[in-house]
Assembly symmetry: C3
Homo-oligomer: 134 residues x 3
Amino acid sequence: MPHLTILYTPDIEPLADMPGLCSKLAATMQTVRDEAGKAVFPTGGIRVLAYPAAHHAVADGSGPYGFCYFNLRMGRGRSAATHQAAGQALTDCASLHLAPLLAAQKVGLTFQVDEGPEVFDARFGNLHPLFAAP
Amino acid sequence: MPHLTILYTPDIEPLADMPGLCSKLAATMQTVRDEAGKAVFPTGGIRVLAYPAAHHAVADGSGPYGFCYFNLRMGRGRSAATHQAAGQALTDCASLHLAPLLAAQKVGLTFQVDEGPEVFDARFGNLHPLFAAP
Amino acid sequence: MPHLTILYTPDIEPLADMPGLCSKLAATMQTVRDEAGKAVFPTGGIRVLAYPAAHHAVADGSGPYGFCYFNLRMGRGRSAATHQAAGQALTDCASLHLAPLLAAQKVGLTFQVDEGPEVFDARFGNLHPLFAAP
């Protein structure tokens, strides 16, 4: 955690610059702070993954409508202010990056932050130690 | 919202007509009504996205078993009767559409409706205004 | 249910043997028992689905970091001990299988078990009856 998953319609690919968007969102996640000024997301836990749909239908199907859904799943127990700060920073980042797309196409954009309902949680890779605080 | 995500094994692709299924499910979402006769899903918020798995294993792996999982995530606060009406209408739609597939292959089909656990929710595209009530 | 969804960065594909991992995880799911020694997961309900991301960013983007996220969604109402047993058995399976990958690359691995928030749940395929208890 935190995991940011992006589900989108492939028609937005040419103007969305998805690799650039993923990088900017990951960088933005590193900057989010809580009320005490502490980093909210451990660098070693940041993941952004983007998936174009193979098939889709949007709204009433009457036009060439695109769609991009952002879902950030974060650990439980953060304050409402932290949820809001994280969501707003990432939405602002995506909004700025996708301005050229929005100027050219009709696209639904939604950003949601979830606190996961996990009942078991294990990390067993070798990435976190690279970014552990000294 | 509402978002209907379909995860499936690619072996069902030839008989499932996924583009047609996505369109029919989106059209069905437009028809769902609550107890007061009001449309449950705003047209501008309807999205159906389908993803074939790159790799999979189903049941005990002993046969050529397929799988299709439907997950509808909708806004919170609807009644149990509305959940049931939405789920049943969409399951009926999928069941009818997939009858030729079921007649030919062994396929697990599951439809679930979730109320999301979101703690932040933003819409920042240009699609909703097209379908806003006058 | 149970559904195990795997989201991963495609750079791990050569060493991860994803088809083999899916099969082993499905086989492991068949072996999980609750406190009374009863199988936790009905064989006919087992599904493992793996999806490589089309685009991604991991950690601070400074290195060729990979990522593999396992999410098991299971039915509600199981004990904490059962959640722990299921999560641990599947994490152990994945850890053993991915040892060659971890020896060669920097990869974040996370396994989470969720109890789903479903408000509607329907099975309408023809797979479960094949595995029903006599």
